[in-house]
């Protein structure tokens, strides 16, 4: 049975959180966690990094909540923040890599943690992860939102604050690069 709280809109929960109702922000967190985590995982390729990034996104949301003006849907505002933060997260990571530290740890997928298992599926997942990681963050975000999250180009453009033409161009380029990087997988599908 749905609780009364389930009937509240995101915007109502935001107002309650701003009014410091205990647990209000937690309810938003529960609602939005899975999707945010999925996005974070897509951008980082590792469960552990995704945990860190998801936490950062919610912390940033918590900090900036008072700046949500209620004129758009909270979900749109939130995911725009999440996307921007994810893109910045990737930039920071790349900066660290450029400093020469731990390149290898940026590449493996979460699936590779299970080194005892070596089934074909994990190898494929690992290679997709590696290929995704190697894309530019903006290109990667577009394919994740399109092909993983299932958003259409107009929705992606809105969330990434860019034109539909830019999204289409990035999507085309990203898929093209992925296919080239993963050409050897065609026989595996």
């Amino acid at each position: 049975m749905a609780s009364l709280q389930d009937d509240k809109t995101n915007e109502e929960l935001v107002q309650e959180a701003l009014a410091e109702r205990p647990g209000a922000f937690r309810e938003l967190y529960d609602r939005l966690y899975s999707r945010t985590y999925r996005l974070a995982y897509g951008m980082t390729g590792r469960h552990e990094l995704a945990e860190d990034l998801t936490q950062e996104i919610f912390i940033r949301t918590y900090q900036k909540l008072s700046k949500f003006d209620m004129r758009s849907s909270f979900a749109t505002w939130f995911y725009r923040l999440a996307i921007n933060h994810s893109l910045n997260y990737r930039k920071r990571e790349m900066k660290d890599i450029h400093k020469g530290s731990e390149i290898d740890d940026q590449l493996p997928s979460g699936a590779e943690q299970n080194i005892e298992s070596n089934v074909l599926g994990q190898q494929i997942q690992s290679q997709i992860n590696r290929a995704l990681i190697s894309l530019k963050p903006t290109h990667r975000m577009v394919v994740i939102l399109k092909d993983v999250e299932g958003l259409n180009i107009a929705e992606i453009a809105e969330r990434m604050s860019c034109s539909q033409g830019t999204v289409a161009s990035r999507l085309f380029r990203a898929r093209d690069l992925l296919a080239r990087k993963l050409e050897h997988l065609r026989s595996a599908l």
Binding site: Y29, R46, S101, I103, D104, G121, I128, G150, D176, A179
Partner: protein
């Protein structure tokens, strides 16, 4: 551009009307667009499957993040729904296959910063580099070369590099000077980089290659393997290792970057300065188990009269495989050398469990705590029981509850709850038998730390209030001093600001008094009581979130003078690591991470010697790990147990090696605790698994580690 959009729409099944026929006609006549179409469809389908591991024809294991739905609709959408699309895919498959395998006449170059040039033309955004052309960067410029579909090469400032050729089995650059970072995802021996003093041969890896003005080559491998070749000689370099090559010499001998300075200097002298038996002496005496590949390289590089010494040391560290004889190796039988190397390649990177060091003792389950927890505390009480307090039940669900483990009954029973939820708090057994609980956080996302403290009285089983700290703190450290007082150091304060302040708790007065300031802000650091009563503090982070400013520094608190004094630096920055006082008075600092957190976990350990004030290498764990602040204990026999973040490992000071304890606890456990019990056993509690999918669910299970001696005693 027009067809690009139509291809996108066709793949996404949003193309309709006469444009379907138009695209179909175009694809029949345009080979390039057919290949493009196929790549688009392939990627879209691949990614749909990427998040659908349950798809029955794939048989992938469950590994996705929580909340991903089995969206069959999306899969159906990406399966070509029309006969046209299906036919196109079939037709263009072969064409695309050939297209992708046709070597490109040029590689893409992307400007990263400044004004890199190709063939003396500035690259403003991106461009091409053709065989024979030079890419050059000045002091402000960086660029990236897209190496066909094999990977990327990032080019640092002040670098001059030439594109030699791209062929089916030979993709080649020449690095004249400067530095590159190569990340290649391809079968071995497809990508090569020439330098003035070596040829770097890729085996599918990431690595840094640097050439100085003297033409010397420096290679550091961060994943996979790379070989440095010259004049028919090859040095095989695994991840974590380095190799130097100089003009006029054969490639140097590879070594792990955490090898001792003495070891490295001796190798360098041997390789490039006509070093002889004295250098061999040093190399043999300093060689660790993981240095076996270095020793193997020396077998055919030393004089024949030195070869038996190399063989003996190598065989002692990792016996040769069946069929490889001493005589054969001493005679440089190629097949035997290669067979031994095949084994050592794995041993050196610690993935051959049959030859990796193992530790004695065993692990056994002893039931479950009442609450699942990670980030809790577990404190041995004076009566031999263990007080367990707070922690996370799962991500953001914090606990005020406490429970008691009784080794006599191996039972967990509830006790009074703390006055508030606490995570990242400390629990310190006081000389009066009570336990001081201080700080932590009770709020989601750790937006606020606690200044409050309370005492647990085992006699009454109750928590009672005591004075509050002068600062709110979480992820701080509390160290019982020899005078019975408690040093509280650092931690995260308000607004995620990490602290450099410290304070002293006086059990007699029940009050906290400000003490001296540390040299640095530190949270998630270590604080270890030394034999002489001083306290060693190492590492930690200067801020909670980016940039977290992880520190390599260390300082010592002197209670007599109430001051902090800087001492030598650790070899790397570390936080969320652990440190333990050893029987000989040194401190072993273990694991931790750098600013990349999960991505930057360390397997390395180092000793701090209070007599010299310096850090030296203590070898490598078999598994890199962090979030182990309360998961390391000194065993009765002087060994050090490391739990959490991976299999339980034991450091043996007698051998200088970490060995994994056979068996496991079912999962990795971050923020677990390990507590030495009066009978010498170790109680390992809770933690969360890295295989979890985002909500960091904790574990209630409890395990006991018994040393081999205790196991045998029990059997009797």
């Amino acid at each position: 551009m027009r067809y690009q959009r139509m291809i996108l729409q066709s793949v996404d099944e949003t193309l309709a009307g006469p444009r379907v026929e138009e695209l179909k006609a175009h694809l029949r006549s345009c080979e390039k667009c057919r290949a493009r179409y196929e790549r688009q469809a392939f990627s879209a389908k691949l990614l749909a499957n990427y998040i659908l591991p349950d798809e029955p024809t794939r048989g992938k294991p469950e590994w996705r993040p929580a909340g991903v739905t089995n969206n069959e609709r999306r899969f159906r959408r990406l399966v070509p729904a029309t006969a046209i699309a299906a036919a196109c895919l079939l037709i263009v498959g072969f064409v695309g296959w050939r297209y992708l395998r046709t070597p490109k006449a040029s590689w893409e170059v992307v400007r990263l910063t400044g004004n890199p040039t190709v063939h003396q033309q500035v690259i403003t955004r991106s461009g091409k580099i053709a065989p024979g052309e030079w890419l050059e960067t000045d002091g402000e410029s960086r660029a990236m070369i897209q190496v066909g579909n094999l990977g990327q090469v990032e080019v640092d400032p002040n670098t001059r590099i030439r594109f030699i050729k791209a062929d089916h089995d030979n993709n080649r650059l020449r690095l004249e000077r400067g530095k590159i970072y190569a990340t290649i995802l391809a079968p071995p021996r497809l990508f090569f980089v020439e330098t003035p003093s070596a040829l770097a041969v890729d085996f599918g890896c990431s690595y840094t290659l640097m050439v100085n003005d003297a033409g010397e080559t420096y290679l550091r491998v961060t994943s996979g393997w790379v070989a440095l070749n010259l004049n028919g000689h090859e040095s095989l370099v695994p991840a974590g290792a380095e190799c130097v090559s100089k003009p006029g010499f054969d490639p140097g001998t590879p070594y792990f970057e955490d090898a001792s300075a003495k070891f490295k200097n001796a190798l360098r002298s041997f390789d490039f300065e006509n070093g002889g038996p004295a250098e061999i002496d040093t190399i043999l005496s300093d060689a660790r188990a993981k240095d076996v590949l270095t020793l193997w390289h020396l077998l055919d590089r030393v004089r024949s009269d030195q070869r038996p010494r190399i063989y003996d040391r190598l065989a002692a560290l990792s016996p040769p495989p069946v069929g490889v004889t001493r005589e054969g190796i001493l005679n440089l039988n190629r097949e035997m050398l290669d067979a031994w190397r095949d084994k050592l390649e794995y041993v050196s990177i610690g993935i051959d469990p049959t030859n990796a060091p193992t530790a004695t003792g065993n692990l056994k389950p002893v039931g479950n705590m009442i609450d699942s927890r990670f980030g809790h505390t577990a404190t041995l009480l004076a009566d031999g029981r263990v007080l367990i307090t707070g922690g996370h039940e799962k991500n953001q669900n914090m606990l005020a509850s406490a429970e008691i483990y009784d080794p006599a009954t191996q039972q967990f029973t509830a006790t009074d709850s703390m006055s508030t939820k606490r995570v990242g708090h400390t629990a310190t057994l006081l000389p009066n038998g009570k336990v001081l609980i201080a700080g932590g956080s009770d709020q989601e996302f750790f937006v606020g730390a606690l200044a409050s403290a309370e005492l647990y009285d085992p006699a009454t089983g109750k928590f009672i209030a005591t004075g509050s700290m002068n600062s709110k703190r979480l992820a701080h450290r509390a160290t019982l001093l020899k005078n019975g007082r408690v040093l509280i150091s650092g931690g995260q304060g308000e607004d995620w600001a990490n602290l450099n302040s410290s304070e002293i708790y006086d059990p007699d007065k029940g009050t906290f008094t400000p003490a001296a300031a540390m040299k640095e802000r530190r949270a998630d650091h270590t604080a270890t009581l030394l034999r002489d009563g001083r306290v060693l503090l190492t590492g930690g982070s200067g801020a909670r979130y980016h940039p977290v400013n992880v520190s390599a520094t260390a300082e010592i608190y002197d209670p007599a003078k109430n001051n902090f004094t800087s001492v030598g630096n650790m070899s790397v920055v570390r936080f969320k690591h652990s440190a333990e006082l050893m029987a000989d008075g040194r401190v072993i600092v273990i694991g931790g991470s750098n600013a990349q957190m999960w991505g930057g976990q360390y397997a390395s350990a180092e000793f701090f010697d209070p007599a010299t004030g310096t850090f030296t290498s203590a070898g490598q764990l078999n598994t890199a790990r962090y979030k182990i602040r309360d998961a390391v204990v000194l065993l009765r026999e002087g060994k050090v147990l490391v739990a959490g973040g991976g299999r339980v490992e034991i450091f043996d000071p007698a051998t200088g090696l970490f060995g994994a304890v056979k068996g496991g606890m079912g999962t990795t456990r971050y923020y677990a605790t390990a507590t030495l019990l009066p009978n010498g056993e170790v109680l390992i509690l809770g933690g969360y698994s890295s295989e979890s999918t985002g909500n960091m669910p904790s574990n209630a299970s409890a395990w006991i580690y018994q040393s081999e001696m205790m196991s045998k005693g029990n059997e009797k």
